[in-house]
Symmetry: D2
Amino acid sequence: MFTAAIAGASGYAGAEIARLLLRHPEVEIGALTASGNAGSPVREVAPNLVPLADRVLAPTTVEELSGHDVVFLALPHGHSAEIAAQLPEETLVVDCGADYRLEDESAWTTFYDTPYAGAWPYGMPELVRSDGSRARDALRGARRIAVPGCYPTAVSLAMAPGLAVGVVAPEDLVIVAASGTSGAGRSVKPHLLGSEVMGSMSPYGVGGAHRHTPEIEQNLGRAAGSATTVSFTPTLAPMPRGILATATGRLADGADPATVRAAWEDTYAAEPCVRLLPEGSWPRTSDVLGSNVVEVQVTVDERVGRVIAVAAVDNLTKGTGGAAVQCMNIALGQDETTGLPLAGLAP
Amino acid sequence: MFTAAIAGASGYAGAEIARLLLRHPEVEIGALTASGNAGSPVREVAPNLVPLADRVLAPTTVEELSGHDVVFLALPHGHSAEIAAQLPEETLVVDCGADYRLEDESAWTTFYDTPYAGAWPYGMPELVRSDGSRARDALRGARRIAVPGCYPTAVSLAMAPGLAVGVVAPEDLVIVAASGTSGAGRSVKPHLLGSEVMGSMSPYGVGGAHRHTPEIEQNLGRAAGSATTVSFTPTLAPMPRGILATATGRLADGADPATVRAAWEDTYAAEPCVRLLPEGSWPRTSDVLGSNVVEVQVTVDERVGRVIAVAAVDNLTKGTGGAAVQCMNIALGQDETTGLPLAGLAP
Amino acid sequence: MFTAAIAGASGYAGAEIARLLLRHPEVEIGALTASGNAGSPVREVAPNLVPLADRVLAPTTVEELSGHDVVFLALPHGHSAEIAAQLPEETLVVDCGADYRLEDESAWTTFYDTPYAGAWPYGMPELVRSDGSRARDALRGARRIAVPGCYPTAVSLAMAPGLAVGVVAPEDLVIVAASGTSGAGRSVKPHLLGSEVMGSMSPYGVGGAHRHTPEIEQNLGRAAGSATTVSFTPTLAPMPRGILATATGRLADGADPATVRAAWEDTYAAEPCVRLLPEGSWPRTSDVLGSNVVEVQVTVDERVGRVIAVAAVDNLTKGTGGAAVQCMNIALGQDETTGLPLAGLAP
Amino acid sequence: MFTAAIAGASGYAGAEIARLLLRHPEVEIGALTASGNAGSPVREVAPNLVPLADRVLAPTTVEELSGHDVVFLALPHGHSAEIAAQLPEETLVVDCGADYRLEDESAWTTFYDTPYAGAWPYGMPELVRSDGSRARDALRGARRIAVPGCYPTAVSLAMAPGLAVGVVAPEDLVIVAASGTSGAGRSVKPHLLGSEVMGSMSPYGVGGAHRHTPEIEQNLGRAAGSATTVSFTPTLAPMPRGILATATGRLADGADPATVRAAWEDTYAAEPCVRLLPEGSWPRTSDVLGSNVVEVQVTVDERVGRVIAVAAVDNLTKGTGGAAVQCMNIALGQDETTGLPLAGLAP
């Protein structure tokens, strides 16, 4: 048995990690910490976590987090570095924030207002590189892991196979994604009120302004083995969870539907948390609701010369908390899917 | 390890049982059968069941269902008797239909058009009787179990404590409940289209016409130790899952808020799948989404002399499939919550 | 042509009045005022009001509101009196707040924390009294009108006919209602976030704690001609607009389904904004979405001796803004439905 | 006053036309016809149309439709030609089906299985051509009009300005759009059940398979003055109404953000039913819910060299029924927006 603490357990990401760990056979939940909600019982901030209802949230301090085998950080960006630096090297620290995702300091400073903290092994095990290796390799035995963003998870796993094999051109990738509202966290803003979002869709961060853009380009660049350019448009959808990402790229010279299909099939044949659907079926976010699976489909529009790949993911599960647990499993030498739901909650 | 077959695995209830059994450490899923969908792979009817995607649905026959330790029947009402009669007595048969729930033949014939099949031990372990016993007692070692209806689960667990202790009068109970659309199953009817139900609420089966009415009265009558009269109004709510039941009854002579509170606290203090919320908190269906917990709260409106009890339940989990697995656990001598999620999926 | 000002135009109620007046053939929209949002263009607070997009919100002062034939007050409770007192007697002031609804000062002080302001003619034209008169009578030529609350509108119009005729007993009325989230206004509270409310239902203000309770009792008492006792439980439903109210009362001695049906038919036969549905059909909130119609149905559950009446209303239209315009029409001697939509937006 | 008949009044498009005509000051609603629902009262198929509740649907025959000034056809594709041919030339026939939209017979036969019927004046008044003219020109005095598809409305009005002025390159347009479920009509299919669509998003018709693709290319080709190639991916969103279209195209050589902005501003400055939002604001489908306005915004992602234009429209109003009425107004010489709502229903 391992012990795990969660910093930021009152947020959606932290609470999701707790939900998953409750059913993990090898993990005992230790400290649950928060900042503004410290001192409150869990039931007041995450009433769904019934088995933890009467646990009291501790303040997010190094003292509270110390003494665990694993520490999950689910904090606002810019807050992980100070804590991580004070935790022992042998403690597995899994950061769900953006802080350690970007390898390019200038990309960080363009989109964030806190100092650049560096890059940790990137927690998207299935991400394929142009040399055929996977990001998983760097996670085995790691003690510091950066969990990917939710949009980058959907988008990268949708399109990376084609770039890695070279059947999709790396320039002029065009991506539109729809996310449920929990992607914005529990922040209380007028445009996130139920009255405003139910029955409505709207875009935001249009024109390259969304912070996940450099992370997407980093991932797809690793897959392609060269720089990529990505037009990324996120939209807000009237559902609490789920991301549906539609990613398109130009069909590379010499590629055809058969080579495209083969690229995706070969990449994901042995992946336990990525399901490439049979031809003709398309992903649906409810099918991965609460599960650690990303569903992917791809097709070629030969008339216009574009490959269209679509992925569905639960932004809080495989998009954040589930990926964190999956990475923990890998780092600790457990079976990768231990404790993780692979069936979604539809209907 | 036990083996379990599911008859009617293409319906919402059957698929939910499969979803739960996938994470049950003591059960191996055997035959999955269907009628109209026999021959189809699971992925075509329940694409969320990713680990079972390529399993093919067998026809619902005694031959396919034989040879398992447990057989779950998730069939349209009136179809269970013929199959159950042909399964060995030592096989645990858990029926999710209405067929074996009612003890009163006339109640059956008033609401159903198939022959009365009798009554099996009633699968609501937490239901308290006026003598303080629980329905659980009859489930230990049982080999035939009738899983309750979804509305009766929410309503009965909301109000039974007050009736059993005598702080609520048994006559003139008034109940209004809202259900997500999956309660209607996968039947394709115009009024269940997404375009029709999203953003809308409407009642149905008003005036005592809903088939769950006699089951509710049976349960509450067992609790009260005398006949009850129930005005039950179900409504259709714009959500896929969840029931919120508001049950009111007259405060009995001599009862007061303290004795009411004590009745509920005493009844549920040791129940693992019923959570009585702290005073001032109220149930929310999303907090039990996908979980086997029913959340309950009660208060007294002294000015008007009514007790108001509210319960939230996931109609497919604790309302059907989860209850079926919970009953199986009891019948087989397992820990009652083995394999069952107790944390809901909110947000 | 009349000119109309709206105080509180940045709130949901005020913006709804503006939406309706935009299509009113006899009204020209004058000042639009706000408090915190004063100085902002309409498009920033109510982007749906396209024809008013570039109008700038003025501060809510008597100066800005003066000089109009009609002033609509859509302010937080407790803020209407000061302004109303300074507006000329000949100005028609239509208050959408709670301030002037209650005739009983003690009822006000029990539920509100501001001084009691008195009672104005009550803006529910269709409300029937035990003597057969309607609340409409007091609105003709009135220059001060209190628009009803949204729940009271649905509940009162559902049940008043039976009380007025005496086929429903006035004591022990039990009411459960579901409301869309816009009923809570644009206030930014965590439990109203889209992530929290979508796919979920929950009760609030249980046990007689909701502020609309005394207004409901006042209305039903007027209908009955005697005091009524009401158990009222409101619930929050996952939709932006709409109220579905289920109201039940005991069938009076000597009453039967025919006399019940006749009471409702007689009461609403000539009402342009109340539609009693044909027997067997039930109201649906989407059918009155954005319209000034309340749909009503009633039935008798003879077995348990209760009358069940259900009403559907758009809380912002007939539940607030539409009622305000309807009352204005009556007060000004216009046809009652002038400018008001009578067809809902379903699907 | 003009008289108008609606063929197919039991479908969503037909019922929407009726909803709009109910408030049109110059139109009297005549025959309402249906096929399978002929003989039913309107209340059974469109209960929201309260003022028409007791009107009985006539069979869809030339006899029933004759004698009106205007006939709206809201029929399944392939059914309009036979009826239209028998209506007098002087009758204004407005077809909401696809039958007369495509000028290229081969495009029709690729996507439809009925004979090609030809092309009528295209009912998108605001569509700009490379010569600066508008589609409106052909509608004045027309007696046969083809109402555009809902996706083509959103997509074409989003992107046409840039193509017409030459600031967007005509090749390699990439479009992803999300539609509410009413776009699929009232057809009763399992994947359109509320239980399946609520809380979920999924794509369909991916890879150029959607029937609206050639219509989109036709429109954008008219704007560009040359052939365009369009990758179009539609997705199904969990809302009853609304389309959000995200259209991207490569920034043309020599174009920049200022010339892009100017193109859109110049195109839509005088259009009453298209609102180009102020810079920094983005369309939201709820803001145009039930209204005849399309909201548009555009920006340039200079880093990747793409123009991103977004449009929001109510698929049943401006996307179908409202456009039909708008076209009628133009053809009959009325003010273009007569009777049409320009404010949406948000929240």
